[in-house]
């Protein structure tokens, strides 16, 4: 397996950018949240690419911890969204302006 690390990192950058575009352009809070997960995954890919290129396990350990944090974050975020939907009846982030000054 001789894929140059640059190509792995470029794929990681492309996926991260698509995630950023989704967060900026989409209006549905759940889809925005999915794009955040996509960004986390692209960073994981970068870590694994470096770990494979450097014969190191540090990247793998980081990915492990990122996975756990992402799981915790998904649980809390979705619970918050369920609560927002109960109170406001919508998940359109243009209408959720409670914290806007």
């Amino acid at each position: 397996m001789n894929v140059p690390v640059e190509h792995v990192l470029t794929l990681s950058a492309i996926l991260f950018t698509i995630g950023v575009a989704g967060v900026i352009l989409r209006r549905n809070a759940i889809i925005v949240f999915m794009n955040i997960e996509l960004m986390l995954n692209s960073v994981n890919l970068g870590f694994i690419g470096f770990a494979a290129a450097m014969d190191s396990m540090v990247g793998v350990m980081f990915v492990f911890f990122i996975l756990v944090v992402a799981a915790a974050e998904a649980v809390i975020g979705l619970a918050i969204m369920v609560e927002i939907f109960r109170n406001k009846g919508t998940l359109n982030i243009d209408e959720l302006n409670l914290l806007k000054w």
């Binding site: 894929v3 999915m34 290129a53 014969d55 369920v82």
Partner: protein
């Protein structure tokens, strides 16, 4: 072997773009599951089988099922046509995005990001000892403190989710819970 990397890279990108463009949240979630599968395949190609398995179990399995549960629970009307009608904020957002991509690719291909094999866990050694065994041993020796901390983090997240999702009863009513 390399051809598989590029195949899965293209598939992952297609899935990600679908997440960006598809209107229905359910189909978005399914496209994201496809992307996660492709990433897991790439992890296998990069000889991180353990991470690939965890990726499938935790991301493609647990997290995306949670997403689908919430989407179906909330019965979202599929949101107003995303349609590429370009308003000023969207154009600015796209410009920022392209700038981020150029910056990222520039940085990642700069000489500073050039790395060579410098660690001690070569592919031969890891596959001789078993990837999972190596990860497990590191987890309980060198990384035992972060390991304990994330276990507490998970506990906090579980309690937080229960507290958040609990339906509040107006004070004054008899029953609680």
């Amino acid at each position: 072997m390399e051809v598989f990397f590029y195949l899965f890279a293209v598939l992952a990108t297609v899935g990600a773009v679908s997440v960006l463009l598809i209107r229905s949240p359910v189909y978005c979630a399914l496209a994201l599951v496809g992307t996660f599968f492709c990433l897991a395949a790439i992890y296998v190609l990069l000889s991180s089988e353990f991470v690939a398995a965890v990726q499938l179990l935790v991301y493609a399995g647990a997290i995306m099922v949670l997403f689908l549960f919430v989407i179906m629970l909330l019965n979202l009307k599929s949101d107003q046509p995303f349609a590429l009608k370009f308003s000023i904020p969207k154009i600015i957002g796209l410009a920022v995005t392209v700038g981020i991509l150029a910056q990222l690719i520039g940085v990642l291909n700069s000489p500073a990001a050039k790395v060579g094999p410098s660690g001690e866990y070569t592919i031969e050694r890891v596959s001789a000892e078993g990837a999972t065994e190596v990860v497990g041993r590191l987890l309980f020796t060198e990384y035992v403190l972060p390991f304990e901390i994330i276990s507490i983090l998970l506990l906090v997240a579980v309690i937080g989710a229960v507290v958040l999702a609990k339906r509040y009863v107006a004070s004054g009513e008899e029953e609680s819970g």
